[in-house]
Symmetry: C2
Subunit: 434 residues, 2 copies
């Protein structure tokens, strides 16, 4: 179904310097792509002449902007929301998270992913980059829910056999999918031998796909890398050749100036996860420094069990506020930069620049409408700062992915919310032996 | 109207060690006070026998908890939301905020306060502590909207005459009000001469009211105090005798161990405003250290122009996450502590311990219902961490203040939201000469 969006405040996210950042106007969707964006009602009429049956959305009082791109999550961990909080990292992993994850199979991952995807769609996230065991289940959940995904089957030394099966299945079932893209997800330097890392790199090169990795999340990772390899995790990965593949590195909290140079020089993108880094007390990533060095920094939520939600609005806001206070510079990461990180930088991180993260003719139709007729968003003086500093996930009214309306008037059309929630509850009760 | 709340998950916030933090049950409201809280349906039936006309609220799938207490704001600054962001502090104040504030009179403050109060009520805040010129207007807006307030007319050297008039008017109009309490609001040591500070202290003592002050918000304040007085702001205020009055100190970012000892020794409460401190790049308050020293630390949002909202859920979450990352301790400020800061600690800060911030027989009926039947709050494994790490202002369904339902099914019953928003828009457009 073609769609005409009328009378909205269009926020294209790709304007040239000097142009208006946003303007009142119209946008038309033809199939899965945006066919025009314009200030002019005449262009809307022309579109309707060609597409008389188009679905018409009145966007009065709403911002029309690109869907948000969550560049690092483990979406199925929505199932583990709240099972362990406020404890030391290793206790969290070893005593709480890993024992439950060890009991999770295909079905648990599928239903956990459905819960996380429902939350993301309702909050305006239209693309997510995932890494987890059973990415086949995540891809299945994502495609059926109508969200765009990059799934990264995840080699780890203790489950290489599972990985080999997982990527083959994803490849087999989702090759050519409009919504699902597969990358390799070499988990981290501390869970992968050199040999298994090389296996991941070879596969990335062979299949022509990118690599999604955890990098320098904690001081412990840095210290162990120095002890084991005599170099930082970033230096080690450069030496091993990972950066020959398009790489998206999550976290990058503990980074020397040399590490930053390496990422910049190799065109590595970063997924910054501020709330997870805060909650797990990992530290504060030098985001301003990385951006200043020319690194493409995007935003992720990480899994819901270390956040505890998949809310990109909070993540944008926190990214901005945390850099301001940690650099003692109130000008650090201004609102528009945070919005770029969550949209066009995300698109660039997954190699979809120009196609995603923008409202522009020819781009894929991943579009959200944000209702700004709310007391906490009044008065309207600066829409960009309103979006970053005051908007909530619950202000997202309509979500379109690949030209299909998946959320309308805050109702998800592709999933039964009650059923998704109660299924997740049953799984976690069973996993916790309740 | 009396009220019976049935089948909710009651979160009393005043349980003894070893007791359940929350439980399924019932609560009755008789006039403006809670008359019973119980697990037993029989108590509910007894209540209905005595109060057959009671309004009945079915709280199935909802948490029943004390309304949140925002212990530091300038509520009328909701009018200035978004007018200036991402600029250095002095430029923000001198070039943007102060010139507009200089043009704001009684009506602008009144209508700005209405906007902020509407936002707070819709998000479950039932009491706020304010400081601003024209507190008479704030008190009027608050009382008519049905929210509880502590207003602090605000002596500052350049407007002492205004202050003298303001506190007299508040005293005259709101003495004996059930909802409005007046405190003194000596603005800060950098805006008050010793003489005017003494005037504020004398008035506090004469009227038997507390003092609400900005304290050690920035390194500049600390440096100037050292230069001018040869001591820290806290040491100076102790010497001047402010702490003889019940004191609520906002911010407390730059604090020595000696400063912390002084506050603890004098029973001074702190209002922690993490998002404002981050956005203005003021620094990170040593909240864990202050709590460990026995200081009663509560939570405030500060004004909307430095936040940019009045959302206590985000503030709780940020308070917890920011201490974890700044102390590198994931156990710092666990979820329940953050909830205490926003409820019972707030009550204690304004001298209303036992009366506010708890769900208990005899306490004032300031009660909120939070709808947890939402995808971003599933599965339910730990309700406390759900409230602090995942709940949004928009999950608040019902709000009762002083026994009166002011928000029901997310609709404010005491204000016309559309009118409040459009009035605020007209004012700011006029103030900005648009």
């Amino acid at each position: 179904m073609d769609i005409l969006i009328s009378n909205g405040i269009i926020l294209p996210m790709n304007v040239e310097d000097g142009d208006d950042i946003c303007f009142s106007g119209f946008a038309g969707i033809d199939g899965n792509r945006i066919s025009f964006v314009s200030r002019s009602p005449e262009d809307a009429e022309l579109f309707l002449e060609k597409h008389p049956d188009a679905d018409r959305i009145d966007a009065t009082g709403k911002i029309v902007m690109p869907g948000l791109i969550n560049t690092h999550t483990h979406v199925a961990m929505a199932l583990l929301r709240g099972v362990s909080d406020d404890v030391p990292l290793m206790e969290w992993l070893e005593q709480h998270i890993w024992p439950i994850e060890g009991k999770m199979g295909y079905q648990e991952v599928y239903d956990g992913a459905r819960l996380g995807i429902l939350e993301m769609l309702m909050g305006g996230t239209t693309t997510f980059v995932d890494m987890y065991p059973y990415e086949e289940a995540v891809a299945q959940a994502a495609e059926s829910a109508g969200i765009r995904s990059v799934v990264s089957p995840c080699p780890m030394d203790f489950r290489m056999e599972h990985f080999e099966n997982d990527w083959r299945q994803v490849q087999k079932r989702f090759k050519g999918s409009e919504l699902v893209t597969m990358w390799m997800g070499p988990h981290s330097i501390y869970t992968l031998s050199g040999k298994n890392l090389q296996r991941s790199i070879s596969l990335s090169e062979e299949l022509g796909v990118g690599s999604h990795i955890h990098l320098s999340e904690t001081q412990t990772e840095q210290d162990n890398s120095m002890a084991q390899h005599g170099m930082s995790p970033t230096e080690y990965l450069e030496k091993e050749g990972l950066f020959r593949t398009r790489t998206l590195a999550a976290h990058c909290v503990v980074m020397s100036d040399h590490d930053i140079e390496i990422l910049a020089g190799n065109g590595v993108s970063v997924a910054h996860n501020p709330q997870s880094n805060m909650k797990l007390a990992s530290g504060i990533a030098p985001v301003k420094k990385m951006l200043d060095a020319g690194i493409n920094v995007s935003i992720g939520t990480d899994g819901a069990s270390s956040n505890n939600d998949l809310d990109m609005w909070e993540e944008m806001r926190t990214a901005s506020l945390l850099q301001k206070v940690s650099t003692l510079d109130p000008c650090a990461i201004p609102a528009y930069t945070a919005l770029q990180m969550a949209t066009i930088n995300g698109a660039k991180a997954i190699g979809r620049e120009g196609e995603l993260g923008v409202i522009a003719a020819g781009a894929l139709a991943d579009v959200i409408l944000v209702d700004i007729e709310k007391p906490h968003l009044y008065p309207h003086t600066n829409l960009i700062s309103e979006l970053v500093y005051s908007t909530h996930a619950s202000d997202v009214d309509t979500v379109i992915v690949n030209g299909t309306i998946v959320v309308k008037n805050r109702k998800c059309l592709t999933m039964n919310a009650q059923e998704v929630c109660s299924t997740a509850q049953k799984h976690i009760d069973s996993l916790l032996n309740k």
